[in-house]
């Protein structure tokens, strides 16, 4: 191996350490008996049982998961429909519609979140779980549409034409030909949507009612009061879930299906 290639590999390893070390430290500390993160390390699962007994954390966790499931269902259905339309039809204004998907991704969430707060408050939706779901779906939609459209772009339209020429109706073609082909894209899109909602902090922060918050919002409030190992424990669980979900999404969108 040339010296440059070796140097490159060392660089890569250093970056991986930089990316993972704090997460691993946090996970390790959640099993440390000392409440002040004192070393030497002494194993204890105390913080996990404390966490499980903390009603606020458990309620917020259940709420977060339920919201994420609702968001996944809505965003996946609505987003897949839009992707099929954007792929199947040529029409005026299509470029504009595709461009409109970028503001929700590109504008800082601080701006989107506060704007949603102002608007929902004005029209009477107010703050609370419905507002959070409406906001999350809007953030998740572009991800679903982009993922499903990417999968569709490898779809052979002549398959549909062949099915239709043999007498299949539009609905049958959709159900038997198109949907099975784009299924991996839909699964990836759904996983993205789940992650966008489950990990979302900024928009939830502005839209949730005090005392009625999602898990990330609860954690933020708790951190600002001073942190406890209980937060370590729940944070470790969250990061494990969100990494697992994204790992699956990556497999489905990139490595799955057409290999």
């Amino acid at each position: 191996m040339s010296p440059i290639a070796l140097l490159g590999r060392i660089w890569l390893v250093l970056i991986l350490i930089f990316l993972y070390a704090p997460i691993l430290v946090m996970a390790a500390m959640s099993f440390n008996a000392s409440p002040f993160y004192q070393l030497p390390f002494e194993y204890s699962s105390k913080w996990y049982s404390d966490m499980a007994g903390n009603e606020q954390i458990v309620t917020a966790a259940i709420r977060s998961v339920l919201i994420a499931c609702a968001v996944t269902a809505i965003a996946t259905a609505v987003g897949t429909a839009a992707s099929v339309a954007l792929f199947r039809y040529e029409f005026r204004g299509k470029k504009l519609l595709q461009a409109l998907l970028f503001p929700p991704i590109a504008i800082p969430w601080l701006i989107t979140g506060t704007a949603m707060l102002v608007f929902f408050f004005t029209i009477g939706i107010g703050r609370g779980t419905p507002a959070v779901i409406i906001g999350h779906v809007a953030l998740a939609l572009p991800y679903v549409i982009v993922t499903v459209t990417a999968r569709l772009s490898s779809f052979d339209v002549t398959l549909e034409e062949a099915a239709r020429s043999m007498g299949a109706g539009a609905w049958t073609v959709l159900r038997r030909i198109t949907l099975p082909w784009i299924a991996p894209g839909i699964v990836a899109g759904a996983l993205f949507a789940f992650a966008v909602s489950f990990d979302q902090f900024v928009v939830s922060y502005f839209l949730s009612k005090p005392g009625d918050s999602t898990l990330p919002v609860l954690i933020y409030t708790a951190i600002r009061k001073g942190f406890t190992p209980e937060i370590n424990a729940i944070s470790t669980i969250i990061i494990a879930i969100s990494m697992a979900v994204m790992f699956l999404a990556a497999r489905y969108s990139k490595f799955g299906g057409d290999r």
Partner: protein, 287 residues
């Protein structure tokens, strides 16, 4: 490919597209318009019966130099974080795309991207545990080195920069990697066979061809960093007052929504100018 639209297809098109775009209108575009309207109000309509239309909120931005100073501070933070992400991330993308091959490359790429997709709040929190006084980092350094080191990194600007670089570094790696991977290896072989050095190949071939990807990554880092508030709050402590935290305060602590809306819109204008200036590059990066 797709056929030209028929009258009967129009209804199907509307059924398929309608829900998604109605949703985006209700949850993104109308709120942004509502906030623009709010930014010109003197009071919250619900609170004060004598609310009126005014330019006062924007005038406050001009009259009180604190806001402009903080916006400038946030922009500088954006530049600093973006530069670090480029300097650290581009070589990493280069190694991944051109030096490592096969399954190892796919696995390593996924490992680099994975934390980026995970919960950003929790990752910032994990840095708080590492950086805090007498925390894990100081103890580790003191254990390795004989001298007593007091880093006191927590609640400093450095801590905010470290946390933000950690949050957004994978963006630059992702976009640069995609651009670098698209460069045909035959081009590099051709250059090498004609006697080009590694440095020449990098400067004359790889860097220019992957520049759109690198710049796209830079914009995608810069924009959210300028609007960040959670990271400075947790890692910056009293040093962590930025433009984003002031906007946050208007909505959750001071309850001056019209002023918050005006400040948000000024930020949005800055962001749009930057996105607009970068859009030719971004468009090239996507194709």
């Amino acid at each position: 490919m797709a056929e030209v639209i028929h009258a009967q297809d129009r209804r199907r098109l509307l059924t398929l597209l309608g829900p998604a775009y109605l949703w985006l209108t209700l949850a993104v575009f109308l709120p942004l318009s509502a906030m623009l309207f709010f930014s010109f109000l003197s009071d919250m309509p619900g609170d004060a019966p004598d609310w009126g239309v005014t330019l006062g909120n924007y005038a406050q931005f001009l009259e009180n130099p604190t806001y402009a100073t903080l916006l400038w501070k946030s922009l500088k933070l954006g530049v600093t974080v973006t530069l670090f992400c480029i300097v650290i991330g581009y070589p990493c993308a280069l190694v991944l795309a051109k030096s490592i091959k096969g399954r190892a490359r796919e696995a390593l790429f996924l490992m680099v991207i994975l934390p980026f997709w995970s919960n950003s709040l929790v990752r910032i929190f994990s840095w708080a545990i590492v950086l805090r006084g007498n925390g894990v980092l100081e103890r580790t350094l003191n254990w390795i080195l004989p001298v007593d080191i007091r880093l006191n990194l927590m609640f400093t600007t450095e801590a905010v920069v470290i946390g933000l670089v950690h949050s957004y570094l994978p963006y630059v790696i992702l976009t640069s990697y995609l651009a670098l991977q698209a460069i045909d290896d035959d081009l590099i072989d051709a250059a090498r066979s004609m006697g080009a050095s590694k440095l020449t190949i990098l400067n004359r071939l790889l860097l220019p061809l992957s520049l759109p990807g690198l710049l796209a990554g830079a914009v995608l880092v810069f924009v959210p960093v300028v609007g960040s508030f959670m990271e400075p709050r947790i890692l910056g402590g009293r040093m962590g007052t930025y433009y984003g935290t002031v906007i946050e305060d208007q909505f959750v602590a001071v309850y001056n929504w019209p002023l918050g809306a005006a400040l948000s819109f000024i930020l949005l204008a800055v962001v749009l100018v930057i996105l607009g200036a970068a859009s030719p590059v971004l468009r090239r990066a996507r194709t």
